[in-house]
Symmetry: C2
Subunit: 225 residues, 2 copies
């Protein structure tokens, strides 16, 4: 369902360039559960943004469900980001002037969902924020903001879930609950790619991809008995 | 050196109030190395902000080096924040229009340090960012931003270091390097309080304080053999 072919990403900076991705090749099948690990600055978020259609490669190709993304119109890309892909950002990217519940309802507005309030409240209650619905993002703890970002990404139950360090700001018990939610979604058929620095999180997936200096260096397959 | 006496913190919200801290009593001695753990939303960042003179209790007292903080002038508080306490924020709080090096030099400007550039570069090189000096914060990865926040907090070599989840966004190797730096500072005599969700980080300190629902519930002392 996801296919990256010799993908490169350069960021111009001053008179030079940062080569964030230097030829990435990756195939992800439908319903696969993949973890991406690697040193800070190695290109994980950059790769995830390309997968989420939030950024484009400098060169190389990205095929999503068999279709080349670089050929798509802005409307098609927006539709993918809204319905097909749920993205949990490393720095949450919540809308500061909306409440917690409103933030989670935003994707449901765009997809024309008829029962936004109930869907948003159910997700927020699951991640333990049922008592924070009317707070604004700057009235939340770091881990609470992260949980709102998770609820928002899952609002439209997208077939592909891309999570950039979804347990980085929460205690281990809350982290287990988040991983239980992702595990249940995986069982239901979703395709999930998680960037994580946490080995215990990575070991709950099926396949660990290790990135260094903008390239995939090795992969481990995980057998759950 | 740090003494909290029945400290409470209330946040008004809508028609109600969030009781973020509900009577916290804490004594930290000079050169102590303390970890603070607890569930997401339990009050850790709130407590750390009060310790760092970035916020004031709703009631109760905070004595720093024997002096009641609530009695201090704005100038005295600013001086404490600049020279006595180094604060590493959970969401970094970097200045977006300054470069990495300029961000780290800011505290050195305020303290009138005569050799800012060298101090900033040395710290940034230690945390592995010697090649990112001229980037702006939004041109960095999450973990790179975290490392700039660490370098900046340490610029004036403050006697008290308050770190809000300093390894949350980095891989384990980078995290070990950060902990090695904090460990070395502790050996040199600094007092360190780390909020963390990571047990391996907490076990490197001398004392683990566990918070739940705005109150300290238990403490563990760690004996290093
Ligand atoms: N400005 C604010 N207004 C209202 N409530 C707030 C505000 N800031 C924090 N809170 C609430 O106070 C509680 C404690 O927040 P705090 O940031 O101290 O938690 P924390 O222990 O650091 O959590 P985390 O591990 O997720 O970072 C949270 O439940 C949060 O919703
Ligand atoms: N807008 C930008 N301009 C210039 N360089 C950038 C930009 N964004 C990222 N970079 C650089 O590209 C590299 C890869 O960044 P990326 O965010 O993908 O890393 P990461 O693997 O997610 O790191 P972390 O684990 O710290 O989150 C980093 O070295 C970073 O400095
Ligand atoms: Mg990242
Ligand atoms: Mg916090």
């Amino acid at each position: 369902v996801i296919s990256l072919d010799d993908v490169r990403k350069d960021y111009p900076i001053g008179t030079g360039v940062v080569q964030a991705l230097r030829g990435v090749n990756l195939e992800v099948s439908p319903n696969e559960y993949v973890a991406v690990m690697g040193p800070s600055g190695s290109g994980k978020s950059t790769m995830l943004h390309i997968l989420g259609c939030l950024d484009t490669p400098s060169s190389g190709s990205y095929r999503l469900d068999g279709v080349e993304v670089s050929g798509m119109s802005e409307i098609e890309l927006a539709s993918i980001r809204n319905r097909k892909v749920g993205f949990i950002f490393q720095s949450y990217n919540l809308l500061p002037r909306m409440t917690v519940q409103q933030n989670v309802e935003v994707p449901l507005v765009f997809s024309g969902h008829s029962d936004r309030s109930r869907v948003a409240q159910r997700l927020l209650t699951y991640v333990g924020l049922g008592h924070r619905l009317d707070h604004r993002p700057n009235q939340l703890s770091g881990g609470e903001q992260q949980r709102v970002a998770i609820a928002r990404a899952l609002a439209n139950s997208p077939s592909i879930i891309l999570a950039d360090e979804p347990t980085g700001s929460v205690d281990s018990l809350t982290g287990q609950k988040i991983m239980a939610l992702l595990g249940a979604l995986h069982k239901e058929g979703h395709t999930i790619v998680i960037v994580t620095h946490d080995e215990t999180v990575a070991r709950q997936t099926e396949r660990i991809i290790r990135i260094r200096d903008g390239q995939i260096k090795k992969e481990d397959l995980i057998v759950h008995l």
